[in-house]
């Protein structure tokens, strides 16, 4: 650090003070910790006070409380032995998701009630809750299923079931014939429909089906409606379809209101001497005639095999699921160039996948995303190495989006939010207030010590440290960083380190002065010597923080982030702020009044 220009020092100090004032204004507003207390507000006479009052501290659950959400997990598809581990997987995924930036510090825990598994998610601050609920809701549900051996396309009924079904349907037919006759006899169709029809879509409207064209209903229905019945006629006998027996009444019919496709219009050639409207008319005439019918019906439903046999799902869950997903990435198919999504499993998942593919050679295995089969490849051979590929009609954007969603964490089981309530701080308001008070007293004691021991430089360092504190709090507010007790610990530690940096500089300064140097030279030399200590000790702390941020989660990560921010800003504070303050002192005056710098330097 070579000779400096005094002018530059003044500029630096000016900027620093500006930063300090800005930070102080940002820091000022603190919303009350709970309803009846006051909180701090920027008074009206300060310019832009309403702007400053918008900034708020994000306090964690232990300091301020927040919201308590309960999610129900649906473990019905999971084998009971695997349930607990699946729910643990959900817990981990949700925590990862909600804590994406490492500063939300949620509390996520599993919860068991009468064999039902739930997840409790507690989040600080109410404003973040809706965002968190959305984030949790967007968590993809990834399941891997194989064919259920109990499923078959044909449902076979036992002879008793078959007989029961036939008898039931016979009764239905008789009932339908009876109603049909009543309608033919003149009873009000609407009334009959409301009373007997088993078609939920139309019964309350008197069986009214509105205007329809061919193809809307099943062929048997259409045939009767369009070909057999005249307007106003009721079917002489009930018509049987797959749904049951229908009594149909044709109310009216008409030619369809013609529409011409604009696209077809473009194809028409309009020559110079052709009249446009003529061409249009011709186009319309050349279209197929389109009939529409207005009808009503009464349905008496029959039973089919499905009603007797339990519905067996085609697919059954395997133990492999979203919680085994290590990561997902986009790849391109080598032949077609289409984007596909590659899934990489963790060790446990790779083993499971190998087993599943070995068991299902020649059969399809389904990958379900959000309970919808997204890919159903046939297994050709046992796959080791734990990689699966989802091919499908993705475009690149869809593939990237899917990869992003999966990488943030994929759930192994579906979840549903069942309750939401606010909670107060775990530390208790009394405790928090006392601690704030105690902290302030501690800091005051430190300031006193610094001034008494290091005198004038000590006073300057107190000033520098105040600026440091104010700036760090501003960064916490703006980022934002959710402050929990752990985060506050990181902050206190970093203040300790900031003080340390100042102490290092001052001790060096005193040494240089003792060895006979004059003040301004001592400042520069002291600084130079102290800098290596400050740099090395702080860098080792930063390295530790980096690793904790990378690997850790929730509280550990939050703590590491606050500490890292604190350390970085403290380095800045020592290099720029303290040094500038020291430099700005009038060297001659200090040299004359050595006592300003320390007792031992009186002579």
């Amino acid at each position: 650090m070579g000779p400096y220009k005094r002018k530059n020092v003044f500029w630096t100090i000016g900027l620093v003070l500006l930063l300090a004032v800005f930070s102080f204004l940002v820091d000022w507003h603190a919303s009350p910790l709970e309803q009846d207390s006051q909180g701090l507000n920027v008074p009206g006479w300060v310019p832009l006070s309403s702007f400053w009052n918008e900034f708020d501290y994000h306090l964690g659950l232990d300091l301020k409380g927040g919201t308590h959400l309960v999610y129900q997990t649906d473990t019905s598809d999971i084998d009971s032995r695997d349930r607990e581990s699946a729910v643990e997987g959900v817990r981990d995924v949700i925590e990862r998701r909600v804590n994406a930036f490492g500063v939300s510090e949620p509390v996520v825990q599993t919860n068991e009630v009468d064999g039902e598994y739930r997840i409790i998610v507690e989040l600080a601050g109410v404003s973040d809750v809706n965002q968190a609920i959305t984030m949790i809701g967007e968590t993809p549900l990834l399941e891997f299923k194989q064919q259920n051996p109990e499923y078959s396309e044909q449902i076979e009924l036992t002879p008793e079931q078959q007989q029961e079904m036939d008898e039931y349907n016979k009764q239905v037919e008789l009932k339908a014939i009876d109603i049909n006759n009543r309608a033919l006899a003149g009873e009000d169709f609407d009334v009959l429909a409301r009373e007997f029809s088993e078609d939920p879509g139309s019964k309350d409207k008197g069986g009214d089906l509105g205007w329809t064209s061919r193809g809307v209903f099943v062929p048997e229905f259409d045939r009767v409606l369009f070909e057999d019945l005249d307007v106003g006629q009721i079917t002489p006998a009930p018509i049987k379809t797959q749904f049951g027996y229908h009594i149909i009444k044709k109310i009216d019919e008409r030619q369809a209101v013609d529409t011409v496709d604009f696209e077809d219009l473009n194809d028409l050639e309009i020559g110079e001497d052709n009249n446009k409207s003529e061409v249009l008319e011709n186009a319309i005439d050349n279209q197929e005639p389109n009939m529409e019918v207005w009808s009503k019906h009464i349905l008496i439903a029959t039973k089919s095999e499905v009603d007797f046999a339990p519905i067996v799902d085609q697919w059954e869950n395997t133990a492999l699921s979203g919680k085994h997903l290590e990561r997902a990435y986009v790849e391109y198919d080598q032949t077609t160039g289409d984007p596909e999504v590659s899934l990489e499993f963790n060790d446990e998942g790779a083993e499971l996948f190998e087993q599943i593919t070995a068991d299902n050679i020649g059969k399809p295995v389904a990958i379900f995303l959000d309970q919808y089969p997204i890919s159903v490849p046939n297994v050709r051979e046992k796959i080791t190495g734990g990689r699966a590929v989802i091919t499908g009609r993705f475009n690149l954007t869809e593939a990237k989006e899917l990869v992003q969603r999966l990488n943030a964490g994929a759930l192994p089981v579906p979840i549903e939010i069942i309750s939401q309530q606010t909670v107060g701080p775990t530390l208790g308001k009394v405790s928090v207030n006392k601690s704030i008070f105690a902290g302030l007293i501690g800091l005051a004691a430190v300031a006193l010590f610094m001034i008494l021991y290091y005198r004038l430089p000590g006073l300057l360092s107190v000033l520098a440290l105040s600026i440091y504190t104010v700036v760090v709090l501003m960064v916490f507010k703006l980022l934002p960083v959710t402050l929990t007790l752990a985060g506050v610990a990181g902050f206190i530690l970093s203040i300790g380190m900031a003080v340390d940096a100042n102490v290092l500089i001052f001790e060096r300064l005193k040494e240089e002065l003792r060895s006979g140097r004059e003040f301004s030279g001592a400042v520069e030399e002291g600084f130079k010597r102290a800098w290596t200590s400050i740099r090395d000790s702080n860098i080792s702390t930063l390295l530790t923080c980096a690793i904790l941020i990378w690997f850790g989660s929730s509280i550990i990560k939050g703590f590491a982030i606050t500490l890292a921010i604190g350390v970085l800003i403290s380095m800045f504070s020592a290099i720029i702020i303290t040094r500038s303050f020291l430099r700005v002192l009038n060297a001659d005056k200090v040299n004359k009044h050595r006592w300003l710098v320390g007792r031992s330097l009186k002579h």
Binding site: A486, L493, I539
Partner: protein
């Protein structure tokens, strides 16, 4: 000037005893793991009239021997109470105890469920790996940045000495908490882990400052013997070490004695860590360098 190096065996002995005592303490009693690690029960109760202060509820609950209790007000007049796993008998005792204290109110139990740990298994493993890597990285960094003073002691040995001092600090603090857990049923949770990490950062920081002075003296005063250099360095940095830890302790002691009850355990870890961290930087880490040197000479 205090001749720390000559008297190093005294300090090694003291530390040795403390470390062994801590290890024994941990093996015999273990740490009393709190509900963050073990999970437990969740009880939500509803008061019919005004919700009493949390201190009042905690007092009422202290009748039943519950260990760590976490209390959260919720909604308008409810409390969520988290404790370790309660047997049905204990569950009823708690309700009875509360009802007796708050006789004028109608207490309704909204839910009583079991809850899992807040720290997942996966996270626990990751945390341990992370710390192990952090230690290795620190050794590497120190080895790199002290490369210029590889004589007479290789620079990576500085790193190892720092880590040994750090290990010493953490072991002793943890050992003390195992003892406290046994004697006073003090429980450890996530905050404890966080506080330990704070100690980790602090101790390394402290040690490096002393080593930096050693480095500087080795370069600028090559004529002194290694032992003298270290002695000088430590003496020169003592003031600074003590001042720094003093200022930190001022705040911590203030928090411990004047602050709220719920953070006492957390602050205690920090206090112990600061004290031992400073002690180890001065009396353990630097003398260790001399030991390395002598070992090298003998071989």
């Amino acid at each position: 000037m205090i001749n720390i190096i000559q008297k190093r065996n005294i300090f090694f002995t003291i530390s040795g005893i403390l470390v062994i005592a801590s290890i024994v303490s941990l093996l015999v009693w273990g740490l009393n793991l709190g509900i963050d690690f073990t999970g437990g029960s969740l009880l939500e109760i509803s008061f019919s009239e005004n919700r009493p202060e949390s201190t009042a509820v905690l007092d009422a609950l202290s009748e039943v021997d519950l260990g760590e209790i976490r209390l959260q007000p919720t909604g308008f007049s409810e409390y969520i109470i988290r404790t370790r796993d309660l047997s049905e008998e204990e569950h009823q005792q708690v309700l009875a105890g509360l009802r007796e204290v708050f006789q004028s109110q109608d207490l309704v139990e909204n839910r009583f469920e079991s809850i899992g740990p807040v720290i997942g298994q996966e996270l626990q493993q990751k945390a341990i790996i992370a710390i192990a890597i952090a230690l290795i990285v620190i050794i590497l960094y120190i080895a790199y940045t002290f490369r210029k003073v590889s004589k007479p002691v290789a620079s990576w040995k500085y790193g190892i000495s720092a880590i040994i001092a750090l290990g010493h600090d953490i072991l002793i603090v943890t050992g003390i908490f195992a003892l406290l857990g046994y004697l006073f049923e003090v429980e450890v949770g996530i905050l404890f882990v966080t506080a330990l990490l704070t100690v980790l950062g602090y101790s390394v920081n402290d040690t490096i400052v002393v080593f930096d002075r050693v480095r500087e003296n080795l370069i600028y005063r090559p004529k002194d013997t290694f032992v003298d250099t270290i002695n000088h360095s430590v003496n020169e940095t003592i003031t600074r070490s003590i001042n720094t830890s003093l200022t930190t302790l001022l705040v911590l002691l203030s928090l411990y004695f004047l602050g709220g009850t719920t953070i006492k355990e957390f602050v205690l870890v920090l206090i112990l860590g600061t004290v031992f961290g400073t002690y180890s930087s001065i009396f353990i880490a630097s003398p260790l360098l001399v030991v390395w040197n002598q070992l090298k000479k003998k071989s």
